[in-house]
């Protein structure tokens, strides 16, 4: 990363500095936390928001996308709580649901009955009080990354979920996030540790009204040896919103991680994923679908770091783009010198549904071990005219034929969601996007 000297701050950078100066006094976690926050904010302040000259942000110029910094969200009013209740995401999906409204834990809307055996769920403040430094400066995540550093500097609420060794809770845990009311900034952090041989399904959803909110969330996932986790994310924020999200996952030996994400919201959004293989024979299957129209900009940035033996990672990301939408896929698989027998495959596919949509794909492999199987691919194309003709020749009108082909394209990812009602809910959301575009 270029450490450039930028004496002139943008309006957003100045506003962030003011916001931080007032927020740091009241932020939870005491003195130890304050030091971490100060360092984190200093990392952003010294370099400014990343712009297109910074390699990692080449396609997603945060300085340009974030012209203003929204004020930090206040505790939601009664009206905002009522509005949030009306737009809770994945309402019909059976799970232990914890709801955040404008970044604040909303106990009234949450399933507060005791979690299942072997599962503990606590507010982030608890972790900040006991070990603020490690709850804020996570392992396996680049803490100087602008989105991560801003999250560390400003986050005040969130969850800590722990699944004890061997526990296999039957109900998924659903963290639902709603943004409503005046345009605001909201930060959230969910730290999940899954014990040895334990298994859990975690669902993360984001919805919001049309105001130009700014959200920044971070999920830290720590899988012990033999642990299994499934993480499903729905990013369906309002179409004015700027969504920055980071997933950092550490996998112990023989741990298994599966993730499926559907990104359909926000005027601009970036999902960062950092996978850190810490033990041998772990596997990760990381997938996502991006659907965007209008002039929206959706980014997925992924770094898979193989440091251990016999690990496998599969990445499959698909985007369907209409209007003047842009998608970005940056994926890097790093295989360290000791990481022999690594099996890594990464694929990014984009379907352009208009002449003016744009897909940017930057797959990278950095391999320092000599006995590995790694590959990557990227495709960008329009719908196949011959397939469309075949469907139309059977009486299916153009728009419906296009929808069928896009459904098939994204279905390959969404069908990887094992939970049936969740799979149906996300598929229905994708179908709604298709119906609205035609």
């Amino acid at each position: 990363m270029n450490a450039e000297v930028r004496p002139i701050r943008t309006a957003a950078e100045s506003a962030l500095a003011e916001l931080f100066a007032s927020a740091r006094e009241d932020a939870p976690g005491g003195e130890a936390a304050r030091r971490v926050r100060d360092d984190a904010f200093a990392a952003v302040a010294s370099r400014g928001l990343p712009n297109k000259r910074v390699e990692d942000w080449k396609y997603t110029d945060l300085r340009a996308l974030m012209r203003e910094a929204r004020p930090l969200a206040d505790a939601p009013t009664a009206e905002e709580m009522a509005a949030a209740r009306a737009m809770l995401p994945l309402a019909g999906f059976d799970a232990q649901r914890i709801v955040f409204v404008n970044g604040r834990l909303a106990a009234d809307l949450s399933d507060v009955a005791g979690p299942e055996d072997g599962v503990s769920i606590a507010p982030l403040a608890v972790a900040l009080a006991s070990d603020a430094a490690s709850a804020l400066a996570l392992k396996g995540v680049p803490n100087d990354n602008a989105a991560v550093a801003l999250n560390t500097a400003f986050v005040a609420d969130g969850l800590v979920v722990a699944v004890t060794d061997g526990a296999k809770p039957g109900r998924p845990i659903h963290v639902a996030n709603v943004q409503t009311g005046d345009a605001h900034a909201s930060y959230g952090r969910v730290l999940v540790s899954v014990g040895k041989e334990a298994s859990v399904t975690l669902v993360e959803s984001h919805v919001g009204d049309a105001s130009p909110h700014q959200t920044n969330t971070l999920v830290g996932l720590d899988l012990a040896d033999g642990a299994e986790a499934t993480l499903v994310k729905l990013q369906d924020e309002g179409l004015g919103s700027l969504h920055l999200a980071t997933l950092g996952a550490r996998l112990g030996a023989k741990a298994r991680l599966r993730t499926v994400a559907l990104a359909v919201g926000g005027v601009a959004a970036r999902q960062q994923i950092f996978l850190d293989f810490c033990g041998d024979k772990a596997t990760a299957d990381v997938t996502g679908v991006t659907l965007a129209g209008g002039r929206r900009h959706l980014d997925t940035t992924l770094v898979v770091d193989h440091t251990t033996l016999n690990c496998a990672s599969r990445e499959l990301f698909k985007s369907a783009l209409d209007g003047e939408a842009r998608s970005v896929f940056q994926g890097k698989i790093v295989v360290r010198p000791g990481a022999q027998k690594t099996d890594g495959k990464m694929m990014a596919q984009a379907l352009l549904l208009s002449e003016t949509a744009e897909a940017n794909a930057k797959p990278e492999l950095e391999i320092f071990a000599d006995d590995v199987v790694c590959g990557h691919g990227a495709t960008v194309g329009a719908l196949d005219e011959d397939l469309l003709f075949y469907l139309k020749a059977r009486g299916i009108p153009q728009a419906e034929a296009e929808s069928l082909l896009v459904q098939a394209f994204v279905g390959e990812v969404l069908e990887g969601i094992e939970n049936e009602s969740l799979r149906e809910a996300l598929t229905a959301r994708a179908d709604r996007w298709l119906a609205e575009r035609s």
Partner: protein
Amino acid sequence: MLTIKNLHASVEDKPILKGLDLEVKAGEVHAIMGPNGSGKSTLSYVLAGKDDYEVTEGSVTLEGEDLLALEPDERAAKGLFLAFQYPLEIPGVATMTFLKTALNAQLRARGEAELPTPAFMKLVREKADSLGISTEMLKRGLNVGFSGGEKKRNEILQMALLEPKLCVLDETDSGLDIDALKVVSEGVNALRAKNRGFIVITHYQRLLDHITPDVVHVMAQGRIVRTGGPELAHELEAQGYAAYVADAAA
């Protein structure tokens, strides 16, 4: 039923059809035979309305309606069906979903009520059974992993389900072994009806041993150059197309 008059069509500005006339009456099966490059497949694509096939002159009407003014899906809803020479594979679109979407789209276009799912399933199973298409195949992606014969049977299943007025079979016999040819031909024969017309496009006479035509046309250089009865197919099989290639070029 189908009237083609003086049809001229080009692909990428290259004239392929050069004044083709054809009249198919309800209940008739017309075979169109001809050498490679005579424009047989172009005719089928022009009838179905594929992009890139530009009609420069002439008319095509189906029961009096101007087919050329319609989109491919509208032509299908009016009763035109093209059985493809090379049916396409569409991974991720289950055959069953495809059939249901197609049938309901046609019913909707004709202002008729869509078929409820149970009735649809029953209908498909019946028709699929007679063509030896299993339920497992219907659940698979459209034509994905199907053999050549299975793909052609699947085309006939679509035809049976959509009950078109005019069926165009484009080299349906290509890539079929003798057993598959029998199954497909029986499927077609079962659909022969007083109110339905067929155009069977083929290079070889052997398909016509199974599907007996009422009329046989020879196509060369983008036109119908000779018309006769079933015996014409046998003559062609014995003598080849050489005479027609030379004649049309002259």
